[in-house]
């Protein structure tokens, strides 16, 4: 097997809350290969988001090591971390986190602003990504003029625009109804088929069914790592 895309060993995250120390992660070991579709489950406060933030270079581990494509994150500067976030990672958030009063197209263009991609390609690329998520006819809509599902799809287009190797989604369906959630999951499955590594956090076991691997966290520790060789197809649910 080729080298893992992500290799986490003994990662710990400690928050200092005044006198008290909160152990959000208590030494996690984990390997994720390129092309996997991973769902992270666990009760509230179990450390799922903390794990995602570490994987997404938004935060750094207090102890232990996290390597992305063989690069040890702990040794990187702020600028290098920013470049990794820009080039290799696409984020999808529960609350979409789109810029208000800004068109879908401009929202999707945002990561390109901080990339090396020449400006002449921006617009075409952003359009292409919006078309991919089925919003080719909503380019100039502001977030307030879009439904929740559409906003989340704009966010996914934004995550895709720099052609990252992996997409990190923290409860991407959390703010959506079941049907729209299914649409979003179908999109993720489609992207996964095209080779993108996808890691998502969810509370809903149904949603985790769509992933090919399920990680379960409890109290800051990884307690279960299950493979699902036959994931359900979200598009089937949509057809009904």
């Amino acid at each position: 097997m080729s080298a893992a895309l992500i290799k986490v060993s003994q990662a710990k995250k400690v928050y200092q809350m005044g006198e008290e120390r909160v152990f959000a992660l208590k030494g996690v070991d984990l390997e994720i290969q390129q092309g996997e579709f991973v769902a992270i489950m666990g009760s509230s406060g179990s450390g799922k988001s903390t794990m995602m933030n570490l994987l997404g270079c938004l935060d750094i581990a207090s102890e232990g090591s996290i390597a992305l494509d063989g690069i040890e994150l702990a040794n990187l500067t702020k600028n290098e971390l920013a470049t990794i976030r820009n080039q290799r990672i696409g984020f999808v958030f529960q609350q979409f986190n789109l810029l208000p009063r800004t068109t879908a197209l401009d929202n999707v263009t945002l990561p390109l602003l901080y990339s090396q991609v020449p400006e002449s390609h921006w617009s075409a690329r952003a359009k292409q990504c919006l078309e991919k998520v089925g919003l080719g006819n909503r380019l100039y809509h502001h977030p307030s003029q879009l439904s929740g599902g559409q906003q989340q799809r704009v966010a996914i287009a934004r995550a895709l625009v720099n052609e990252p190797v992996m997409i990190l989604a923290d409860e991407p369906t959390g703010a959506l109804d079941t049907q729209t959630g299914l649409e979003v999951m179908a999109l993720f499955q489609q992207l996964n088929q095209q080779g993108k590594t996808i890691i998502l956090v969810t509370h809903e076991p149904d949603i985790a069914e769509f992933a090919s691997r399920k990680l379960t966290f409890r109290d800051g520790a990884l307690i279960a790592d299950e493979r699902n060789p036959q994931p359900r197809l979200a598009s089937d649910g949509l057809g009904q």
């Binding site: 702020k78 920013a82 820009n86 080039q87 984020f91 958030f93 986190n97 810029l99 901080y114 934004r158």
Partner: protein, 409 residues
């Protein structure tokens, strides 16, 4: 390229809170406008002073008689200087170009059914030399006219306009007080003097004509005049000339060594210049006060930028999540602050121009002259204020941790 995107981002952000942005800019607008207006007023006043000194004919003294002083108490009689004094000064004081005697009275001038009240002055041709005042049409007085006290007149442009309008003035007969005079010359227009009076509102007659027909002859001093206007050649030492004139006149009036002068010599350009200097100091002070308001405006900018950074913490977090480096965030907020200040500065410049334009054309306030250097300097200064006061908030934004910024509520 990217700058355009940054500017677009900045203006979008500023448009979101249009009123707030405008109010913040107001400090800069007022500051810049005030600085430019104050400096413009100063420059305008200076220009006026220069013009006045020039219209006076350069290096000019006024010599007048003064009260006769005896034993410290002021006597009632006024010593009058006369034409002989003028001749003597012109002949004996080195550096003097010309010394022109001047006698005047107010009176009515009538032409046809038009009448005009003006200053009627008795002079000889030396006056035009001293004043550096050319005749526009016609001629000066002839020696014969001066010696005989002929009934001829040279008129200022204003009187020509009032009495003759578009018709020919030369050769016409006008009535001055109770006698008729013939117009032989019209002077070039000169404009307003130091006190804002129209210098072209004058009628000149030979000095003897005025004395014989209007003021009457002073029996104790038959050739007395109101004042002598003395001009020095360019580059002459004015103080030296003043000393020499004083010495000459004291000698002529036989004033004892410790006696007070019975005449006054005033160097008018110097007086105007001194007065202008005081005014200039005042104007500079006002310009400084105005720049303080610019700094106060800058503090307002800083305040609003800090609010803006706090309000947009989540946006900052998102931008960082998609790859913005600290420097990108810093630049974004700096540009926003510079745009705010620059725009304020530009509006301030427009307001200053408008104000000075209205002042100059509709007589509100003193005239002003806007120097393009001052405009550039003010704009530059306001941009600098944008950088200076915008830097701290921008730095604060750039130092946020991505995860903290994203989670901020």
């Amino acid at each position: 390229m990217k700058l355009f995107i940054l500017l677009k981002t900045a203006t979008t952000a500023l448009r979101v809170n249009l009123l707030r942005s405008f109010l913040t800019m107001l400090g800069i607008i007022i500051g810049v406008a005030a600085v430019i207006i104050m400096v413009a007023m100063g420059a305008g006043a200076q220009q006026k002073v220069d013009e006045q000194i020039k219209s006076l004919g350069g290096n000019v003294f006024f010599v007048t008689g003064s009260f006769r002083a005896s034993g410290g108490a002021r006597a009632s009689s006024v010593v009058k200087i006369n034409e002989d004094d003028a001749n003597l000064i012109e002949k004996q004081v080195p550096g003097v170009e010309s010394a022109a005697p001047y006698l005047s009275a107010n009176g009515q001038v009538i032409y046809g059914n038009l009448n005009w009240s003006t200053e009627i002055s008795g002079i000889d041709n030396r006056y035009f030399v001293v004043r550096d005042w050319p005749i526009a049409t016609g001629r000066e007085f002839s020696t014969q006219e001066i010696n005989s006290g002929a009934k001829v007149a040279i008129i200022g442009e204003r009187i020509r306009q009032e009495l003759f309008g578009v018709s020919e003035a030369l050769g016409q007969t006008i009535r001055v007080k109770n006698f008729n005079v013939t117009v032989v010359g019209v002077l070039a227009a000169k404009g307003q003097d130091a006190r804002g009076e129209d210098q072209d509102d004058v009628l000149f007659l030979p000095i003897k004509t005025v004395r014989n027909k209007i003021t009457g002859i002073d029996s104790t001093n038959p050739k007395s005049v109101r004042f002598i206007q003395v001009s020095a050649y360019d580059g002459e030492d004015m103080d030296y000339i003043e000393t020499e004139m004083t010495r000459l006149l004291r000698q002529r009036m036989r004033i004892p060594v410790n006696g007070d002068d019975m005449f006054r010599i005033r160097n008018v350009s110097e007086m105007i210049a001194t007065r202008a200097e005081t005014m200039q100091v005042f104007n500079t002070l006002l310009a400084w006060v105005a720049s303080v308001s610019l700094v106060v405006g800058g503090i307002g900018i800083m305040n609003i930028m800090l609010v803006s950074v706090t309000e947009r913490t989540r946006e900052i977090g998102l931008r960082m999540a998609v790859g913005a480096k600290p420097a990108d965030i810093l630049t974004q907020f700096l540009i926003e602050s510079i745009v705010l200040c620059g725009l304020g500065g530009a509006i301030g410049v427009v307001i200053a121009y408008l104000f000075v334009f209205l002042g100059n054309n509709y007589g509100i306030g003193a005239g002003g002259v806007i120097d393009s250097d001052v405009v550039l300097l003010s704009l530059g200064f306001s941009a600098f204020i944008g950088v200076f006061f915008g830097y701290y908030p921008a730095l604060k934004a750039s130092r946020l941790e991505p995860i903290d910024a994203l989670r901020y509520e």
